[in-house]
Symmetry: C2
């Protein structure tokens, strides 16, 4: 699923480890999300959206319409 995670992280000047810590996930999980090998759980998607202060749909593109 296409997403804006790397863009948002870099805009904050955070490392992948920084982001992982703030989201309470591993660095490898951040890599997998940024490289679009994993979709986040809904709960993690909500944590990400809250952290960046934008709606989930602005970070993870809804592939259904």
């Amino acid at each position: 699923m296409k997403n804006q995670l790397r863009t948002l992280r870099q805009a904050r000047g955070w490392t992948q480890q920084d982001l992982g810590t703030r989201l309470a996930v591993s660095r490898q999980a951040v890599i997998a999300l940024e490289s679009e090998r994993h979709d986040p759980s809904l709960d993690l998607a909500y944590r990400i959206a809250s952290l960046f202060g934008v709606p989930v749909e602005e970070i993870f593109e809804n592939p259904h319409r």
Copy 2:
């Protein structure tokens, strides 16, 4: 995670099987979601939101912030 799935389904007059078919998931998956034993994947959450025509956050309550 608290959600409005049962309310929305019943408002449409659909059975759990009807909803499962429209979402391409099993009837048992619908039961698990309605009874809040499972959170949906982000992709399924998007399918649900698109089916009912409302934002994801209106169906599944964001527990963060």
